[in-house]
């Protein structure tokens, strides 16, 4: 056993139908690993339906920091036969496959082809006997998992209690029994493959990208969130809706995405920090509102969760194919900021920062992410419990003169193109927030000179913004044969690549617009060979880099099948 605990990481998967509690069990395994002082990543795959289908939860955990999923499994818990066909290539000689024998006897061919060791256990029967319901099968599986990895049993039981306590003592008790049945059944047949103790100094948190965005928004002073449900951004709304009990925050599920961005702009006009969130199809409806934010200079933060298109596409899978859409969306020319967080921690930090940037520069700020990051769990160091919220670019009462001379869109009294704004309720601050081109008071104008001046004023925000955005980061050794370039969530996989090989390093772009030309060029010109890694078919960031810097790539890795990159594949590519 001791030599096995020397392993660098552990990889577990649970596979079943939608409605079988796969996601709950998966999250619990990741969180339990965290409480044992381990770094964890939980990746979910599921189809766009409510019952049936094939879905999986996959937790990879390690004593070293880990950021992405791994293909070859240590343990696979299969609720049905589909798992054998769907995940055959993930099963190796070292894999323990726990098969739910209540799903029917395994096809002989499948057994023969399976490289791992199969253990038949009647998971549904355990659940029915203990909890009186098949629904507790996932807790039987959790019990098996805890026994197999040698996790602390008491810590696991506490976690079951936390999960079900809101449903009453009786439900907790039943799930405890189901857990114990699985725990004991495994140990009757097998020995644990590892052993871990609870880490009393655990100072990590485990959350999804959506939760990190939600928490970052709260930390950034969010007070108004209006949105329409759309995978993969819906869970951000769910998280925030739940936070209404803790904060002076209104979350409005509105009639459509057009209303979502326009309500957010209304709230912003009235002086509170506001946000909306959606995916590609929903954002397509928001585009006119984005342009409105640009010309009225009203701050708004937009969570953009990418999933494969065109149109409805693959609703529950991942993609990085909307970068050029986000960069170009909106008629007319105006400033925007596009933050592209990679790790879940960056999702927290950049969302918080997005609110300051939006308010200070009076521009729309995007958090562009994707299904992969928004719906995966990752561990990171617990954020500070107190967050400061600045009050930026508002005019002070004393500067609102009784002669009503306040100029909201002043062309002379500006810094980096930003003119201070008043809010309704402030005396002598009256102005029009205008979708038409306007003069300093906000009154519409078609004057040629004024049009140029106001356009230039808005454009001049660019320099200030460029100073403050997160800059490209070099990860891994300074000197490497290959330098991978990535933006957004792809850095998670590449972090796990550079921790395993010296052949490559990585330049991660945490902000893609305004493009950090100077910093990126400095890093890129030191590289021996540049290889772009991104989740789309046309090389959208590659095009952006060429457009902004003239730098071309030596090669590229593109993925556009809805699945994330795997570190193993990239390492294989390097070896070749």
């Amino acid at each position: 056993m001791s030599d096995m605990t020397e392993a660098k990481n552990w990889n577990w998967k649970i596979a079943g139908q939608a409605g079988e509690g796969v996601m709950v069990a998966s999250k619990m395994v990741a969180k339990l690993a965290k409480r044992h002082g381990l770094s964890a990543f939980n990746y979910l795959e599921y189809p766009s339906l409510i019952k049936g289908g094939h879905q999986t939860g996959q937790v990879c955990f390690s004593k070293e920091p880990i950021f992405s999923q791994i293909r070859s499994l240590d343990i696979l818990i299969a609720f049905g036969q589909a798992s054998f066909t769907e995940h055959a290539e993930e099963i190796t000689e070292k894999t323990l496959v726990i098969y739910n024998s209540n799903a029917g006897e395994l096809n002989e061919d499948l057994v023969k082809q399976c490289k791992g060791k199969i253990i038949n256990l009647p998971l549904n029967e355990f659940a029915r006997k203990t909890a009186k319901t098949k629904l507790a099968t996932n807790m039987v599986a959790f019990g098996i998992t805890v026994a197999a990895f040698g996790f602390d049993q008491q810590a696991a039981l506490s976690m079951v209690e936390e999960e079900f306590s809101s449903k009453g003592e009786e439900i907790v008790k039943k799930n405890h029994l189901a857990f114990t049945a699985g725990f004991e059944a495994f140990l009757e047949q097998e020995s644990p493959i590892s052993s871990f103790s609870v880490d009393s100094k655990d100072n990590q948190v485990l959350m999804t990208g959506n939760e990190a965005v939600g928490l970052g928004a709260v930390a950034g002073g969010l007070q108004y969130y209006s949105a329409y449900p759309m995978t993969p951004a819906s869970a951000a709304m769910h998280f925030l809706a739940d936070q209404q009990k803790n904060y002076p925050l209104v979350v409005k599920h509105v009639e459509d995405e057009i209303a979502a961005i326009n309500q957010a702009l209304g709230a912003s006009y009235a002086g509170v920090r506001s946000m909306t969130g959606t995916a590609g199809g929903g954002f397509a409806l928001m585009v006119e509102g984005l342009s409105l934010s640009g010309v009225t200079e009203l701050p708004v933060v937009i969570l953009y969760g990418q999933r494969p298109g065109p149109a409805t596409g693959l609703p529950t899978w991942t993609s990085q194919a909307d970068l050029q859409f986000v960069l170009r969306a909106g008629h007319g020319e105006f400033q925007r900021i596009v933050l592209s967080p990679g790790t879940i921690e960056e999702h927290y930090l950049f969302t918080k920062q997005a609110f300051d940037l939006a308010e200070k520069y009076q521009v729309p700020v995007f958090i562009i992410s994707d299904k992969y990051a928004l719906e995966s769990h990752q561990t990171f160091t617990k954020p500070e419990e107190t967050a400061e919220v600045g009050k930026l670019s508002f005019v002070e009462e004393k500067d609102l003169k009784s002669d009503n001379s306040f100029r909201r869109y002043s062309l002379t009294n500006t810094k980096d193109g930003v003119s201070l704004r008043s809010v309704p309720g402030q005396e002598h601050g009256l102005y029009i927030s205008n979708s038409y081109e306007h003069d300093a008071f906000g009154y519409a104008t078609e004057d040629a000179t004024l049009t140029i001046k106001q356009t230039d004023k808005r454009a001049s925000k660019y320099n200030g913004i460029l100073e403050e955005i997160p800059k490209p980061i070099l990860l891994g050794k300074k000197d490497a044969d290959v330098t991978f370039i990535c933006w957004g969530s792809t850095v998670n996989v590449l972090k796990d690549v550079v921790s395993q090989t010296d052949k490559a390093n990585v330049i991660h772009l945490p902000c893609v617009w305004p493009f950090p030309v100077k910093e990126f060029t400095e890093l890129a010109k030191k590289a021996k060979s540049l290889v772009m890694v991104e989740g789309n078919a046309t090389g959208q960031a590659e095009q952006l880099i060429r457009q902004e810097t003239g730098i071309t790539m030596n090669d590229n890795l593109r993925r556009y099948d809805g699945r994330p990159f795997y570190a193993e594949d990239i390492i294989d590519w390097l070896e070749q």
Partner: protein, 287 residues
């Protein structure tokens, strides 16, 4: 703090409406209503749609938001929920409200958001020089329907009543005295209010003229009408031979959207804006 006066609300910009436009009657009635209600000038927000009516944005000196075509209502809801102490009024045309942005009107009525939606209904698209609108009469020849409009006109009043609006009224730009009172009553109503205002467009609508309206409109107040009776309101709103004006339906028992939100019980969102946020509570779920 100073209340709106006829002088204070006058912007430096001169009107660009055609002579005889119904908008003159409407803006006049609005200003009178604001003055009579004694609203402090900083506590009023007007959100304008895009159209001839929305061009009023430049003629009023108020906290204004000249929005997009069809989107004034969601802007207004955002303003109201951020600072529910403000009086929030939407000025938009019927193409804006009953066409492009109809979904928002229905949602605002259903939610009973405490805003007043004043619709300039001239049965034509005028700023785009004369196409059919959602309330244009069937068969009308317009630039976009040279062989006559196929669609039936939409009835905004029955639609608002069926969407649970708590205040549904119709005014006429040619009756200032009545219109002032309707604007006042709509603003004072605690909850969502729709005030549809019939107005001639002397340039592009040669059918529904002042003369046409004068022969048809009548005031419900002169009929001992009971606006609390929803069934009666539904029937009255469907009269076509003569055109009733006044308050069709009013339900004072409805509770405004923001009053359902406990986080707005004592203070507005804006008043609760804080320089420091504690993450202690949400973080518990992630450890």
């Amino acid at each position: 703090m100073s209340n709106i006066t006829l002088q204070s609300i006058q912007s430096p910009i001169a009107s660009t409406w055609c002579p005889g436009c119904g908008n003159f009657g409407i803006i006049g009635a609005m200003k009178q209503a604001f003055v009579q209600l004694g609203i402090p000038e900083e506590d009023l927000v007007i959100i304008y749609g895009v159209g001839c009516s929305g061009n009023m944005a430049d003629f009023n000196r108020v906290y204004g938001f000249h929005s997009l075509h069809g989107r004034a209502i969601p802007n207004a809801i955002g303003v109201k929920l951020a600072n529910h102490k403000l009086k929030v009024i939407v000025i938009a045309g019927e193409g804006d409200t009953y066409g492009e942005g109809l979904n928002h009107l229905l949602a605002a009525a259903r939610g009973n958001h405490d805003i007043t939606v004043l619709v300039h209904n001239n049965q034509t698209y005028s700023l785009t020089t004369g196409q059919s609108s959602p309330t244009t009469m069937k068969g009308t020849n317009t630039k976009s329907t040279p062989d006559g409009l196929v669609e039936e006109p939409l009835n905004p009043l029955t639609m608002a009543i069926s969407a649970h609006a708590g205040f549904v009224a119709r005014g006429y730009a040619g009756n200032m005295a009545q219109l002032i009172n309707l604007v006042k009553e709509a603003i004072q109503h605690d909850g969502f209010s729709l005030l549809d205002v019939l107005q001639p467009c002397p340039t592009f609508n040669k059918i529904n003229t002042y003369q046409w309206f004068q022969q048809r409109v009548y005031d419900l107040d002169k009929k001992n009408y009971q606006p609390s009776d929803k069934k009666l309101a539904w029937e009255t709103a469907q009269e076509e031979e003569k055109i009733p004006t006044g308050v069709f339906y009013k339900d004072i028992s409805k509770v405004s959207y923001h009053k359902h939100l406990s986080q707005l019980d004592k203070k507005t969102l804006l008043e609760q804006r804080s320089g420091e946020v504690s993450l202690k509570k949400p973080l518990k779920a992630f450890v």
